[in-house]
């Protein structure tokens, strides 16, 4: 166990899986010598060579499609798109090919492919490089959607994703790469679809994902001063979604706030509040609240971008409005 960044944790997961299984390989733009746009694949090219750490042309459609084809043909590709925003170019290969293959073929094939994509705002990258698109992927049967917040979760979940026999969309947040935390040196897995209670509390449940987990924890500390004990639940995976852990928490606290960086309208939080409304309404003492991005593209200028990104203040306000 030692202190590692989220980025190092991901890198270690890739390295250990490549050492363990010769069928695991990496493909994407500038993932080789360059080490990936944010540095996640750094050093892997030197160890594993260009047969296993493959720089591709700029062609997201074929990166995703080739990973899907290679997976169906028996390999375990880990593809990287530099930014989640570029999935638009590759949508068909992901949604209609990777996600549908097994079902359409009557279960005759598996697609053990992992697609890593950084998302999120906060670096002044403007509207085409800053989105949080998890709800797009959650809505497609056949895909799994993993969205880790801590270095520990990132490593264990990436290893699980690589070993999973389904196409897994693995969403990283650019601002999390530098976050540090305790991460075991050895290989370990975390069950895909298992939430983690990041903080226990009795008065309100805050379900938060990715970078918003930190805002939720900060909000919880501030609420504590007002005598409100918030429980912070990090689903870690949005598909499958750990309904039990969320419902258990809501039944305990009787109040729910969902916080995510994606656009709130039709966003990931909508599914979670619907879950509470359908299955735990009688336990709720107050209306549910969603904290998310406003319904606009991500602006470039720093003050606008900061205003766009939901934060701890927003979560505190949401909790106070119901508690």
């Amino acid at each position: 166990m030692s202190e590692k960044t989220y980025l190092q944790a991901l890198n270690e997961a890739l390295r250990q899986e490549m050492e363990r299984d010769p069928n695991v390989f990496i493909l994407g733009e500038d993932v080789g010598q360059f080490g990936g746009c944010f540095g996640v694949t750094q050093g892997l090219f030197d160890t594993f060579g260009e047969e296993r750490v493959m720089d591709t042309p700029i062609t997201e459609s074929t990166i995703v499609g080739a990973a899907t084809g290679a997976a169906a043909a028996g390999l375990r590709p880990v593809a990287e798109l530099m930014f989640v925003d570029f999935i638009g170019v590759a949508m068909d290969q992901l949604f209609n090919q990777a996600a549908k293959m097994r079902y359409m073929f009557g279960g005759k094939t598996t697609v053990p492919m992992t697609l890593r994509m950084p998302q999120g705002a906060g670096i002044g990258a403007a509207a085409q490089h800053s989105q949080s698109l998890e709800s797009w992927f959650m809505n497609i049967p056949g895909l799994k959607v993993v969205i880790p917040s801590t270095p520990y979760d990132a490593k264990g979940l990436l290893i699980s994703a690589i070993r999973d026999d389904n196409p897994v969309v693995f969403l990283e947040h650019k601002l999390l790469y530098g976050m540090t935390g305790e991460v075991p040196d050895e290989s370990y897995t975390i069950e895909i679809g298992k939430a983690d209670v990041k903080r226990e509390g009795s008065d309100v449940t805050i379900v938060a994902t990715s970078q918003m987990v930190y805002s939720a924890l900060e909000a919880a500390e501030r609420l504590k001063a007002d005598g409100i004990e918030a429980e912070v639940v990090d689903p870690r995976c949005l598909q499958p979604l750990d309904k039990e852990t969320i419902l258990e928490s809501v039944k305990k606290t009787h109040a729910l706030v969902v916080a995510n960086e994606a656009v709130s309208f039709a966003g990931p939080g909508a599914e979670i509040v619907a879950l509470a409304a359908e299955e735990a309404l009688e336990y709720l003492d107050a209306p549910v609240k969603r904290v998310g991005a406003p319904f606009c593209p991500v602006p470039f200028s720093p003050p606008l971008e900061q205003a766009y990104i939901p934060n701890a203040d927003d979560i505190v306000a949401a909790v106070k409005s119901i508690r």
């Binding site: 500038d30 720089d55 042309p57 700029i58 570029f86 403007a126 593209p297 470039f300 200028s301 606008l304």
Partner: protein, 319 residues
Amino acid sequence: MALSKKTLIHMYETMNRIRLFEQKLQEFFAAGEIPGFVHLYLGEEAVATGTCAALTDTDMITSTHRGHGHLLAKGGDLKLMMAEIFGRQTGYCKGKGGSMHIADMHLGILGANGIVGGGGPLAVGAALAAKYKKSDDVAVCFFGDGASNQGTTQEALNMASAWKLPLVFVNENNGYGISCPQCKSMAVVDIADRAAAYDMPGVVVDGNDVLAVHEAVTEAVKRARKGQGPSLVECKTYRWRGHFEGDACTYRCTEELEEWMAKDPLPRFEAKLLESKTLTKKEAENIKERIVADVEAAVAFAKESPMPPVSALMEDVYA
């Protein structure tokens, strides 16, 4: 080709404007004053300049993530560009777009683009509109060697040719897509060869020779205006800086960079102008001094301008 003195001087000014504007950005980015990404065009000035000098104000262009040169060559306003890159309310996009998304519809600039390969289909649309309205305008799609591998680019080439659209594809082949050298991303040496697959002319020119670029694009524009369809002009050039400011650029050797810097398009063109007595040394100095002052004024304008108010966040989502 006999170009008027006015055109030649205009081209000379444009190249210097791009050069000095970008050098200023380089400084400010290093000083931490510019948010986000900045992709500099330094070393490639001849491509945008030679191309846009063949266009009218109503002709349209689609640009890339490396768009400052294209925008300035098409007549973009220094102050509005600078303010946008600094994220100010007075900028071209009210601070919402930044370096990668600057547009000026009055000048036919359909925008820089954060998506590699995003411009091709848009240029098809612009050319289609020109043909539809029988306007005599043409569209130019600037795209990189990396972008040429994107399906969207190939689809655009095909559709433009099938529909005989007034479109010129100007490929800026600087040899790299971020760290990936051309030889690793495609089997052909000349991207212009791909034009054959779409039955359109494909030519290779020295992208550091503004006159060579201008001549080839003028030819292609002529064809386009006559209704003879699209062409592909491949300009071989080189990116002096890393992919973006801050890129350590360890994937290229210094010899290669030095070799290309020796082919700097600016002194080459200047020497020609001096030799042909189109320009005197004194005039050249005056032009540069004036541009330095213009760039300084743009910086002052940007810095004095306010950041956008938070109340602007939800504006312009819909018309």
